[in-house]
């Protein structure tokens, strides 16, 4: 029997040399006449250990990492193909504390299975949710999602069940399910990891959603910055069609659309415009997409994480999912530890852990070894928090109460060398580059914002310009059509308030 060796084909693993490692293992095995089978899995999400190579043994999977191609002959010499000891050996993968401490519901299979094997998917619990849904009436599916407490994981945290019910109850012969995979927030990569590591989970979620709301057609919009996710997900769609899961036989089909480098297309109405072939400009609401969305029809639009959480809810029941978490934040959130952090990676856990525990105990502090100075939570539109906020529980409401947000679960860590005035300027610069241009506060305000911050940094009438910046930010917050202009003030003003000395301001 040949030995099974797992080498991830996740984008970030590849960005750290996984392809060269896979080739080195194949050629070394051939040279040594060892019979091996290399499986290209998704990533376990322990990126400081990538490329993480796993070997299947009688006791379970044993991990080695971070492996470079140059390490491969030595690994074979040490008998790693039988779980032999080596300086890069990490023991049983499942026992690595970072993994062991997680509660993986949405990411249950990511890194474990062969992403494109439907047999592997089913063997690890896949399709159980769909089968349960097929035995239910559509209203019951909606009721289950509602009762689970699942909220939109894209960032807005709107209760998913209410959205589903609205689309379900909208009368129209044509409805759509749209998956938002335009994961543009810096510091986030959970959608990408799932698209690359467990694509059938998302397909299953979309199939369930289609049945629940009465749609026979789905779209997924994947950003062009994710070429690997695009490739793997499209291959998964083809396999699913060939297996009769999608297409005429399944009564539901999914069309993948590729974005074109516009952050704003992550905003749901801009995304719909983009699928329709237009400039990705935000639509005024109402009407809500649930009433008049894609091509003017009722449309259920959800983030990858939302839809990928649905199969387990249907498979294990609403109560199972609902019992994780705290307050009104039910279930789990795959947190993404990014930037200057020692254990950078994906950590899925129930809501309720404190921010400090996540960053220090789990994340191990900064990669540079210096003190943490600021953390941007929830993407480029999220506020900067400081170690003073480490007591905050990871909960939507607790963050909102402190003028911050969890958003899509990304945390970008900065050490004490960070210049927060520069980061505030960047937030405005990013908004200017990515504004869709439809509303004035965002389009013009962001450019004026860069100029005002430049004047503050240059020391020109600092107090007066700081007042002007605060005024500009409140105009953007109150007058913008969507979160792009409406929330850019969060990182900007949190930086001003918490790090006035970086701006040369008294305080």
């Amino acid at each position: 029997m040949s030995i099974r060796i797992y080498v991830p084909q996740d984008s970030t693993a590849l960005a750290l040399g996984a392809e060269a490692v896979a080739s080195a293992i194949a050629s070394e095995a051939a040279a040594r006449n060892e019979r091996i089978e290399i499986i290209r899995n998704g990533s376990r999400g322990l990126f400081w250990l990538e490329p993480l190579v796993e070997v299947e043994t009688a006791n379970g999977r044993v991990a080695y990492g971070p492996v470079s191609a140059a390490d491969v002959p030595g690994l074979f010499a040490a008998g790693f193909q039988h779980g032999g000891s080596h300086p890069l050996a990490l023991g049983l993968t499942e026992d690595i504390p970072f993994l062991k401490q997680q509660q993986r519901l949405t990411f249950a299979r990511v890194g474990i299975t062969d992403p494109l094997s439907l047999a592997d998917y089913e063997a690890h619990g896949g399709l159980a949710g769909l089968r349960a849904a097929q035995a239910m009436r559509p209203e019951e599916i909606v009721a289950t999602v509602t009762h689970s407490g699942l909220r939109g994981r894209g960032g807005a945290a709107f209760p998913a069940g209410i959205k589903w019910r609205t689309v379900r109850e909208a009368a129209s012969p044509e409805k759509y399910v749209v998956c938002n995979a335009d994961e543009g927030d810096s510091g986030t990569f959970s959608d990408r990891m799932l698209l690359e590591g467990d694509p059938y989970c998302l397909i299953e979620g979309m199939l369930i959603a289609g049945r629940a709301v009465g749609a026979s057609r789905g779209y997924i919009y994947i950003r062009s910055e994710y070429p690997q996710a695009w490739k793997i997900f499209n291959a998964a769609l083809e396999h699913a069609r060939a297996a009769g899961l999608l297409g005429a036989a399944g009564g539901f089909d999914i069309e993948a659309r590729l974005g074109a480098g516009a952050y704003i297309c992550g905003e749901e109405t801009a995304l719909l415009e983009s699928i329709e072939g237009k400039r990705g400009q935000v639509r005024a609401k109402p009407p809500l997409p649930a009433i008049a969305g894609l091509f003017g029809q009722p449309t259920l639009i959800n983030n990858v994480m939302t839809l990928a959480s649905v199969p387990i809810i249907l498979a294990k029941g609403a109560d199972y999912y609902r019992d994780f978490g705290m307050g009104r934040s039910h279930g789990t959130l795959p947190f993404q530890l990014a930037g200057n952090i020692r254990h950078a990676g994906l950590f899925e856990t129930a809501f309720g852990l404190s921010l400090g525990e996540l960053l220090k105990d789990i994340g191990g502090g900064t990669a540079s070894g210096r003190p943490i100075r600021a953390v941007q939570v929830g993407g480029p539109l999220g506020a900067y928090v400081t170690p003073d906020d480490f007591d905050l529980p990871l909960d939507y409401e607790a963050f909102a109460a402190r003028n911050a947000m969890l958003g899509h679960g990304g945390l970008v860590v900065f050490d004490d060398t960070a210049d927060m005035a520069r980061m505030a300027r960047f937030a405005m610069e990013f908004c200017a580059a990515e504004s869709c241009g439809k509303c004035t506060p965002c389009r013009i305000g962001s450019t004026r914002g860069v100029e005002v911050i430049d004047r503050i940094i240059a020391g020109e009438a600092r107090e007066k310009n700081a007042a002007l910046l605060a005024d500009l930010c409140s105009t953007m917050a109150d007058g913008s059509l969507c979160a792009m202009g409406g929330m850019t003030p969060y990182p900007v003003m949190s930086a001003v308030r918490k790090f006035p000395s970086d701006f040369g301001l008294g305080g």
Partner: protein
């Protein structure tokens, strides 16, 4: 009609519906490396759109370019997770080494430099993208080596 047959073929492969516009633009850019100005009119005709509408879409999206790219397209991530790990210094270094700014191509046609706002490699920052390959944890030495490699290839091309 003296239409480019390659363009005509790429356009005709898509249904004549307005929502085929982005897929058509991707297909042309994937095949030719950019969207030549003469592509606008036949796309507009095929989709029953105005040329201004097609131009408006092309100019809206950062991914689409209307000039031929260099032999290599280098995207540097400018976003927060990369800045937290020295992305801004890397950006300055690349600009200085290549002598160009973003959206420009070196005069010898070797490299086009483009900004990216997140490549999804935030756990291996700073990250860059060369063609379709994403490279993580790039430091000054790694960037210099990569640029040298591209230059060497260029020198080899010139002597050939």
């Amino acid at each position: 009609m003296t239409e480019d047959p390659e363009l005509a073929r790429l356009i005709a492969a898509h249904p004549p519906r307005p929502d085929a516009l982005l897929p058509i633009l991707h297909a042309i850019q994937d095949a030719l490396g950019y969207l030549p100005p003469q592509a606008t009119a036949p796309i507009a005709r095929h989709l029953n759109l105005g040329r201004a509408e097609v131009h408006g879409v092309i100019s809206f999206y950062h991914h689409f370019r209307t000039t031929p790219p260099g032999r290599h397209v280098l995207h540097l991530c400018r976003a927060e997770a990369c800045r937290a790990m020295g992305g801004a210094d890397l950006e300055a270094r690349a600009r200085a080494a290549l002598g160009i700014d973003f959206h420009e191509t070196t005069t010898d046609g070797a490299v086009s430099l483009e900004p990216a706002y997140c490549l999804g490699a935030c756990a291996a920052s700073p990250a860059i993208r060369l063609g379709d390959e994403i490279i993580g944890r790039v430091d000054a030495a790694r960037l210099d080596a990569l640029l040298a490699e591209i230059r060497q290839e260029r020198a080899a091309g010139e002597t050939a």
